[in-house]
Symmetry: C2
Subunit: 325 residues, 2 copies
């Protein structure tokens, strides 16, 4: 599932489209689509929805003004050539849309090449808070493709460049996700969880030095408020363990964390991630429950082994006795 989501350079595209495009329809179709005709209504409706959702999750009233947020969001990219949009263009929107307290201590989860897995793990704020569980990230992930054009009406409804069609970390998506990534890291405190993909496809790696995580998140955590990093390396069920906590690109990440003065732990295939991956691979060996499978098996093995040992032991003692006799 997750490794098919592409490397971390494609993260914006993943963030924006993976939930639908990569999971459900061939990617090219959706990624090259133009802006949704109803983007303004979708943005504002989703914004009012999610501010109420966060309010209930936090038990306090969130005061964002969604019409104002649409103005700031659309001003970042409307009437502009898509690739001419930068992080700075989105900063007024991201600043206004950041909800105080929306990332409780010890709840933040970061990721590379693991959008779907990470968000299943966070459970839409039920367990943790990942990038699409904060207001800015939620909105970016719920408006489908979007891009501007210099000519009227300032929005291109026919076709939008993909993230990789613009210079790295620029464009309508690159600008947005760099700003969101930076802001998310800035408010993340306590234990920071980081999900890494140990089974990336092709030449992709688990920790990419030109990733959003390395360039826009790692430098922006509030150092004094971060307890440690909990690295979690998952492997798609049944796939070769291309990288683990101790090999591949992950030791580079550990070194980087040390340089920055962060403590860390690293776990390969923690059970929580395995449970999620197993939902789509119920029958595989790695997905069997001990209580369902191995108790009977191990019991019969023990009996089998015990019986063999009994015979073998008897013969040994017999030979010993004959010998000493």
């Amino acid at each position: 599932m997750s490794s098919s989501e592409g490397g971390s350079i494609l993260r914006c595209t993943c963030l924006a489209f993976v939930f639908l495009s990569l999971c459900l329809v061939p990617r090219a179709t959706a990624a090259s689509a133009g802006t949704n005709r109803h983007i303004k209504e979708i943005f504002i409706g989703q914004c009012w929805y999610y501010t109420e959702y966060i309010s209930q999750s936090l038990g306090e009233n969130v005061q964002q003004n969604c019409t104002d947020l649409w103005e700031k969001f659309s001003r970042a990219w409307m009437y502009k050539d898509p690739c001419n949009v930068t992080m700075a263009d989105y900063e007024p929107f991201v600043k206004a849309a950041t909800v105080p307290g929306e990332v409780p201590t010890n709840k933040a989860v970061f990721w590379e090449a693991a959008y779907t897995l990470t968000h299943d793990y966070s459970g839409s704020r039920r367990r943790y808070v990942a990038s699409a569980d904060i207001l800015t990230g939620y909105l970016g992930n719920h408006v489908f493709a979007w891009c501007g054009q210099e000519a009227e009406p300032g929005i291109n409804f026919d076709s939008c460049p993909l993230e990789e069609d613009c210079p790295m970390f620029q464009g309508q998506y690159g600008g947005m996700w760099t700003a969101v990534s930076k802001a998310f890291a800035e408010v993340s405190t306590g234990v920071i969880q980081m999900i890494l993909n140990g089974t990336t496809a092709g030449t992709n790696v688990a920790f990419n030095e030109t990733s959003y995580f390395n360039l826009f998140e790692l430098p922006n955590f509030p150092k004094a408020k971060v307890t440690r990093f909990q690295l979690m390396v998952f492997h798609d069920v049944g796939k070769t363990h291309k990288e683990t906590c101790n090999n591949g690109s992950i030791p580079l990440l550990k070194k980087r964390l040390e340089e920055l003065g962060f403590e860390y732990d690293c776990a390969d295939d923690p059970s929580a991630l395995r449970h999620i991956l197993c939902l789509d691979d119920i029958e595989s060996t790695e997905c069997q429950f001990a209580s369902k499978v191995l108790r009977p098996t191990s019991a019969s093995n023990t009996i089998g082994t015990g019986f063999k040992t009994l015979v073998f032991g008897g013969i040994l003692v017999l030979f010993y006795l004959i010998a000493i006799y």
Copy 2:
């Protein structure tokens, strides 16, 4: 998690609020709230969002008109005393909002007292389609509390009755969910999955004869197009198995299915459901993976048992030899 969602009589409330209220904040707070001030914008924005989401999931363009759907939805309950709303009032909305083909064959999942678990299992249409994964159900679950009043402005923004405050299957929620349940069953074909809660709280039971499922779904499946029912009984991790496939209220459901001429299978704690429940109970015995835990344990047990057997076997043979000698 799921057993705390209450019995199936409370299902409307669950459908409408569980995602937030029951998971995140004390239930009374949200359930007694009035209509969200931005309900119209939320409804229309979510509607355009979800029609596009379903379009991408189906690979074809869904043509619903969301402004028209809002008119039909709001007409069902605006300017009315909340408890005076019935299933018939919502039928024009449900009819207009039903998307052809939105429930592919073998994909439908039904449930009683298991909203969150079921929707984690369906994965928002990635794996299956549950009640909140069709347009009508999605909308009902994404507008928070709502209710009307006879006086202007026709909407009560201050306080709404809970589902159980109105006569059963009536009111702004009861009317909606009876109509949605009926329509969902009518388009469900192939293998029908049904998730049942074997660890309900108090006097609640897994299969409730006065449930939405029994009264509004079971009678409305297209018989000729249903292959069989796959009943799945889950038990909250670490809890007593109050009901299983073979006891409690579930045999009643089997009898009912037989009477209706449906074939069925029943499984207690299928692995997929267990994996989801284990996400919130990683350490419990029932949640351990065979590959992680029991192989080493069973190996050391085998060695221990083997050694004991060796000694015991040796002694036995020794006695035997002494005896025959």
